[in-house]
Symmetry: C2
Subunit: 200 residues, 2 copies
């Protein structure tokens, strides 16, 4: 007879696998670590998950995570309300914010177009984006979806709709990474960097 872990420990290991990048081995290590060495940490994590699930909602204006009806950013008077950056997820919004290179507003799509999965313009709230972008204050929409097939398709589709309504639309630049070397970059990226070269 091989002995199994107690059932509540088994369930904890299974539950830990909902975390991205956590497989059976990591989940086992995490569960034993928490119970053996960090029970206060486990209690804190349990509480933090419950409280975050209770309190976090989507901002009415930008659709990002917020505890209030309007997020801190949408409620701020110190941002440029004429610039609207469109991203795929709240995590992407945070990535752009952390660059400290952008001072405008955001709109977070509910994902990207993926017709094969039944995800169309309505599912990702493109109608809300159009309404938001045509409020008379926004003068430029910066499309910052990922450079994946779906992200590109979404940017293209949203761009066409916005252009048809007379709004200036831009796309974040593709090219070599900062500090990047030509022989370390894939051919597709290098090709785009050549095609989208800019005057110095």
């Amino acid at each position: 007879m091989t002995v199994k872990a107690p059932s509540s420990l088994d369930e904890l290991m299974a539950a830990l696998r909902c975390l991205p990048g956590v497989g059976p081995k990591s989940a086992q290590r995490m569960a034993y670590h928490l119970l053996q060495r960090d029970q206060p940490g486990a209690a804190r994590l349990s509480g933090a998950l419950r409280i975050a699930l209770d309190r976090i909602r989507h901002c009415d204006k930008c659709n990002s995570f917020s505890e209030a009806a309007l997020c801190e950013l949408c409620a701020s008077a110190r941002r440029d309300a004429g610039l609207l950056c469109v991203v795929e997820s709240p995590a992407d919004l945070l990535m752009v914010e952390q660059t400290q290179s952008y001072g405008g507003m955001y709109f977070v799509l509910a994902g990207v177009l993926s017709p094969l999965d039944g995800i169309g313009p309505k599912e990702i709230h493109l109608d809300r984006l159009l309404k938001r972008a045509t409020d008379g204050v926004v003068r430029e929409v910066v499309l910052a979806t990922n450079f994946t097939a779906e992200g590109e398709a979404t940017a293209h589709y949203a761009g066409e709709l916005l252009l048809a309504r007379g709004i200036k639309v831009t796309r974040i630049a593709r090219g070599l990474p900062v500090g990047g070397e030509l022989d370390h970059v894939d051919a597709g990226t290098l090709a785009q960097a050549v095609i989208e070269r800019r005057a110095v």
Copy 2:
């Protein structure tokens, strides 16, 4: 003004860092993933942590994790009660069990000797091990602590005490890993494999 995440999201990211191997970047990715894509998973994890903390205790006999006073293994009549394997942690017990090469009982120390950290024989429950090993049924103690400095010291110390009480003591083998090649193994391991060579 750079915008921060809502405070309950911040707290969730901080709490996730109690997991081994999770730094700030992973914690951020995990928190956003749970809230954006897997709220049921987050609720399940919160509940599983709470229930495990409530229910998991240490087995009275072997000191491993258990939901009852005696763990499934110690309560089993199908194990060899004459063999007692000593490990450092419940996770190590599970590792030995998963080899399916051992059919005896276990004793889980509460860590290893570490005099500089003030962890002596009493703190790791060596007195309980001696009592357990001298119950008249145990005929051999297999020391399976890690081959670290602390694990070796603990095995040596426990071994001396057990031998003095007339109990047969063995140590799990050191050597090359199964499928291991000589030129991929460190010199110390290879030296031990030579010293501890066995007749064929």
